[in-house]
Symmetry: C2
């Protein structure tokens, strides 16, 4: 996997996990909210999946944020 894609997926994974925990949701709970499979949510949180914008809008809606914000590196 290309380096800048891996970096972006890692930022996404970190943001999803943080926002999910802020809402005291399990991966299973987030899976239910998004309509995605629990194992898929886990794979995204491990930065293993090359997600689509469609999937990102589902995460953004469930976590009350925007797609660009899900991709922004908070640590920078």
């Amino acid at each position: 996997m290309k380096k800048d894609l891996k970096r972006l997926l890692t930022v996404l994974a970190t943001n999803i996990r943080r926002l999910r925990k802020d809402k005291q949701l399990s991966q299973e709970g987030l899976a239910e909210l998004t309509g995605l499979h629990r194992t898929y949510v886990g794979a995204v949180e491990r930065a293993e999946r090359n997600v689509t914008l469609s999937t990102l809008t589902s995460f953004a809606r469930a976590l009350n944020t925007s797609v660009p914000d899900l991709l922004l590196d908070e640590g920078r």
Copy 2:
């Protein structure tokens, strides 16, 4: 297609087209830079394709921008 996905794809399409024209690139030129097919670039610029983060990193690299910036609505 869901409304917020369509909105996001339209923002992306507008941004790619604007940045491509700023660089005086044709869709064919952008296709060469990204390694994507010319007809695919055209479909993205018509907001018809649900693109992946991998594809977005290719566009961002070719257009000297970041993936979050490609998804931000400049008009807002």
